[in-house]
Symmetry: C2
Subunit: 341 residues, 2 copies
């Protein structure tokens, strides 16, 4: 039932080569015959078969996007950045969300080798050297977003510096008792963000000569209830913190919620800093670390599409694009000077 290039050619009274030429502007065509072809194409509502094009051209016009932590708002924002440039290109997105370790491994083993895509965009996954070796061997352009590897292009945000900036700000406000709230749920794939941010937290404390107190480092519970309980414990410690630096806005908002339940005023009794600057953060008056989420996805595809072009043109660009995106501390109402009690 689907109409092919042959039927168009017959209808226009030309050869299939001419039809192809008209459709792709691949060679000059006499204006008269050109119009005949166009008319036939329109009459028959002809659309070239993508599978045939792909086989003939050796190009899929598709990129794979591999995303863990798919439910997290920040990931979606990155993906939106990707889609914003893809929508304007002639590429499609093939989506692979990974939610478990086995799934992660399976996707990473198969997708790069199946030849179903022209390029790979990998979000937030720490790749082993072996995995990177196999990807490079598969000779498929690949760009990392929100994760790094020395042998691959990446778009990255300096989590350590950002965390340090946030905590230093709290210290400058006069806080000495600052806790760090991690979220081990987000570290299912050992992405290392949590470690990086904790490192930045420690560095800031050290620079200020403030000792690091183990009871001020807390991992999130896996259930909402466990999580809430953990926050309560932290806030009702004998020597409870006056400020909290949270792994994410989501966690920070939970802290605000628990603080309310405990009748703690914010920022009077407790200052809270989040991370990500998702939309609700603004509404909740949450001081937070803004990172260029949309932008990171956008830049990621752009680097990837460039890499694909370069591969086609056999341009072996020597240096890998490894970009670092800036972060910014957005100061709102959830932080202030500590009140001495």
């Amino acid at each position: 039932l689907p109409v092919t290039i042959h039927e168009v050619a017959k209808r226009a009274g030309v050869g299939i080569g001419t039809v192809s030429s008209v459709l792709n502007n691949s060679r000059p065509v006499n204006e008269t015959t050109r119009q005949k072809v166009l008319a036939a194409v329109k009459d028959l509502a002809f659309v070239p078969n993508p599978s045939a094009r792909r086989l003939s051209l050796g190009k899929t016009h598709t990129i794979a996007v591999i995303i863990p932590y798919f439910t997290i708002a920040s990931q979606i924002e990155r993906l939106r950045g990707v889609m914003s440039v893809i929508a304007e290109s002639d590429y499609d997105i093939s989506l692979f969300a990974v939610e478990t370790i086995p799934q992660r491994n399976k996707v990473l083993q198969t997708v790069p080798h199946r030849g179903g895509v022209d390029g790979l965009l990998i979000f937030s996954l720490n790749l082993s050297n072996e995995e990177v070796r196999r990807i490079r061997q598969a000779n498929i352009p690949t760009v990392l977003v929100e994760t790094v590897h020395p042998h691959l292009p990446y778009i990255f945000v300096d989590n350590i510096a950002a965390a340090q900036m946030a905590v230093s700000y709290l210290i400058d406000l006069g806080h000495q008792k600052i806790a760090y709230l991690s979220d081990h749920r987000q570290d299912l794939f050992d992405s290392g963000f949590d470690r990086s941010r904790y490192l930045g937290y420690c560095q800031a404390l050290e620079m200020a000569g403030i000792p690091i107190r183990p009871e001020y480092y807390r991992q999130a519970g896996s259930t909402l209830e466990a999580h809430q309980r953990m926050i309560q414990e932290l806030l009702t410690l004998p020597d409870s913190p006056t400020a909290i630096f949270a792994f994410s806005d989501e966690i920070a908002l939970e802290v605000l919620e628990v603080a309310r339940q405990l009748n703690l005023t914010v920022p009077g009794d407790l200052s809270v800093v989040g991370y990500d600057d998702v939309e609700v953060a603004r509404f909740a008056q949450l001081t937070t670390v803004h990172q260029c989420l949309f932008e990171s996805g956008l830049q990621g595809v752009e680097v990837l599409l460039d890499a694909i072009d370069n591969l086609e043109n056999h341009q072996t660009n020597g240096s890998l694009p490894q970009l670092q995106l800036p972060t910014e501390l957005v100061i709102r109402g959830s932080t202030g000077r500590p009140i001495q009690r």
Copy 2:
């Protein structure tokens, strides 16, 4: 550089037909030669070229998912449902997020006709009869999720009934002054949810003999600030409502926030009901309408994959699967009897 089936055949000392047979179990193969082929495949790390398979089979093994309102948590949850079954199948997902009307129209015109996918899953978009006609003419299996059309299969939630249930619950609690908070941001594509839920709200009031007061119907602002101001206006009305039924959990949470700023107690001064039952709703103790988000996506693909199979086997299943998923009112701490002042 990529290895083809011919090289495998040569290496195994057999014909390409045999290699194909082994790989696809398409016909019986002698166990000895079978092992030889498998060995060659492994040695050469052969992976069949998907483009070639697609062309030969006339099947892309890909489904398109068209999604508006991509940033909304409920959409992501539906998409997760889709991916959960796709991950276990041999299909891939091609993602089309639409954020503007022109984009919506372009995607709806091109994607069904390009032949790049075996099926279409369309979320939350009201299709015109003309658009449906063209889709059916393209003869590509299509399933609607969270929207309906008489001539297409769909997975749907009865918004009217759900809203009516929620508002009736508030009335049963003793509320008479109940407001409905819409979100016109979500209605960029005229999806009609807003209208449906307002209709259910009106029906519940009418059934209870409560007059509908226009000042109790509010549209959300486009900016967060405008939105907040609108909520404030509503809550500080001379004869302000004692209960609010919100279009979504996101809006309901904003109401809770504003109520706090106005020193209104919940549920003492104000009862709030949301819609969607997203994860944070549980944490915020929000009474809300739970709908089967994950499930709706899951069922959507299953119906779609069935439709694709039926198309291949020329089984013209007479009746269109048009399923309605149940909703449930989840009662938490944000609702209670009104306090007479």
